[in-house]
Amino acid sequence: MSARPVTRARFARVVLASAVLGLLAVAVSACFGAESVDLVALLGGGGTAIEQAIFWDIRLPRVVMAALIGGALAICGVAFQALLRNPLAEPYLLGISGGGSFGAVLAIVLTGGAASTLLGRAPAAFAGCLLALWIVYMIATRRGALHPATLLLAGVVTNAFFLAALSCVQYAASPEESQAILRWVMGGLTSPTGSELALLGVAAPLGAIGLLLESRRMDLLAFGEETARSLGVDVDACRRRVFIGTSLLTAACVAVSGPVGFVGLVVPHGVRMVVGSDHRVLVPAAFLTGAGFVALADALARVVVAPSELPVGIVTAVIGAPAFVALLARRRLLAGGADA
């Protein structure tokens, strides 16, 4: 490998290249669906009124939302991997998304549907995410050491617990509520409401900027807590900021689309192979390519069983699960974290 210090020029190159890639993916995704559209003609003002309506009112908001969710989940994965010193950490696998889903579903059912608006779901999801993260962290850091295997098991247990709790709530819900909950929990994207788009439109870029500001500290934390401290990082404050930020991001995604898994695993590892491990380039590159990844996954979800569609979470899981196995098989990745 070659040494790749992050100079201003290199940062600009990486961000530009990933932005082009992300935008390209979004554009391709926007062309496909139950009705495929001619993007070039539409942007030129051509096409029928129905085509115009499909594209601008239904297709594009949905693709943009998929992209924002993809970007947000990808950088959450990056942050969790660095702070928990575990290459397999990811909001979905750690049970954070599960906690958020439970929070949101509980709020919906307890208020008899009154909290089914975004304003009700989002705070409940945030509370659920924070609770799940706290539980995982408490289990895994018993006696101070954050062991990689323990952490994953803690995630599995937390996820199982919240899914069981969610099933309980679903069991008590009416058949209509139950059906809606089921679709949402699988990680489905529909055309977003204005407020959903606004929430993600604000949260995702802000989260990306926030994590970018923490990126150098993440480089140091990936070397272990003590090393980070001795090199000048206020570890506790940094960890607090990043955990709250990632919980907010995950909650915003979960509140809008339900849990979408494996994005935070596949994208960061893929991007790392190309741009290296330095978080100053990894965070923006993962955000932009993660956006493209979920936009394309959503296009697949719309096309594969058209005119019906799959929840996007199923597509990302079908791609992500083999990637997880491949990562497990690469001993070096785990060995790096095994002595944390």
Partner: protein, 295 residues
């Protein structure tokens, strides 16, 4: 009576002072009533048996672990009151690092040493790259700049991490077993480098098991007690490293010779360990009835 934990008269006021330190993990004290100081321009060796608290001492001195009693002062300021960043500008540490999580080149590792001197989010400029390359050259690791740290041998890795501590700068350098994993040549080279760094004005504390190299390079050495307590002895190597002190510190009867320049030299043989605890030979058939049956 001169304080044994303090530098020799004539040395400037110590920049690093540990006063009445008590520290440990949970209920167990590892260090107790420990006083130690190191002045700028001084190389202080810390010696002692396994588990006597040498690494704990480094963690305390670098502010990574809080002492349960006593104070650590750097330049007269209590480290507990210093922000991390300012502390990192004064005190650099070479610790027993768990290593990186993902592949990362040696040059990138060394550049992490610049963190305390850069804004929270910054890019590497030419001066940062120069500093990192100089640090790598100083530890004879310039040729490793592009190599992945996780692929280096233990000794190469150790040198790269030392380069990171050099790149960090500061008035105090703490090294926890810098010669671990190093071959003969590089063990000597590291001590020569630490000596040079002290001569250029840094306060250098080195925790080591290599008594002979420490005796040659260090201005003073401190011998920690095997049980939590004050140091057994601290002072010039020739005064501290004696058969008697080694017996109390390591429970070994080692011969100490002196080179022509008066530097002590420890020679030990495998039979120098005086009283190995009597090992009970386990008799499998110790039950008389069993014995009868087999007989």
């Amino acid at each position: 009576m001169p304080d044994p934990g303090m530098p020799n008269p004539g040395m400037p006021d110590p920049v690093l002072r540990l006063e009445g330190i008590r520290a440990g993990y949970g209920e167990r004290d590892v260090l107790c009533n420990l006083d130690l100081a190191c002045a700028e321009g001084e190389l202080l060796g810390v010696l002692g048996a396994n588990g006597c608290g040498k690494t704990t001492l480094v963690r305390i001195a670098s502010g990574v672990l809080a002492a349960t009693a006593g104070q650590v002062k750097v330049g007269g300021v209590d480290v507990a009151t210093l922000p991390r960043r300012e502390l990192a500008q004064s005190v650099a540490v070479l610790s027993q690092d768990p290593g990186p999580l993902f592949p990362v080149s040696a040059l990138e590792v060394v550049l992490l040493g610049r963190h305390a001197w850069q804004p929270a989010f910054a890019f590497e400029g030419p001066e940062d790259l120069d500093a990192a390359k100089r640090a790598l050259d100083e530890v004879e690791a310039g040729h490793l700049a592009n190599r992945d740290l996780t692929q280096l041998s233990g000794g190469e890795r150790q040198r790269v991490l030392l380069a990171r501590a050099l790149c960090q700068g500061g008035r105090v350098l703490l090294c926890d077993e810098p010669t671990a994993h190093l071959d003969l040549r590089h063990q000597a080279a590291v001590f020569r480098l630490l000596r040079a760094l002290a001569d250029r004005g840094r306060a250098v504390v080195v925790v080591t098991h290599d008594l002979n190299l420490a005796a040659q390079a260090c201005d003073r050495v401190a011998l920690l007690a095997p049980e939590a307590g004050p140091v057994i002895a601290c002072g010039r190597p020739a005064d501290v490293i004696t058969t008697d002190t080694l017996r109390s510190a390591f429970d070994i009867a080692a011969a100490v010779h002196h080179d022509t320049d008066g530097v002590p030299h420890v020679r030990r043989r495998i039979h120098d360990i005086p009283d190995l605890p009597d090992t009970d030979v386990i008799d499998v058939i110790d039950d008389p009835e069993d014995r009868n049956e087999t007989a």
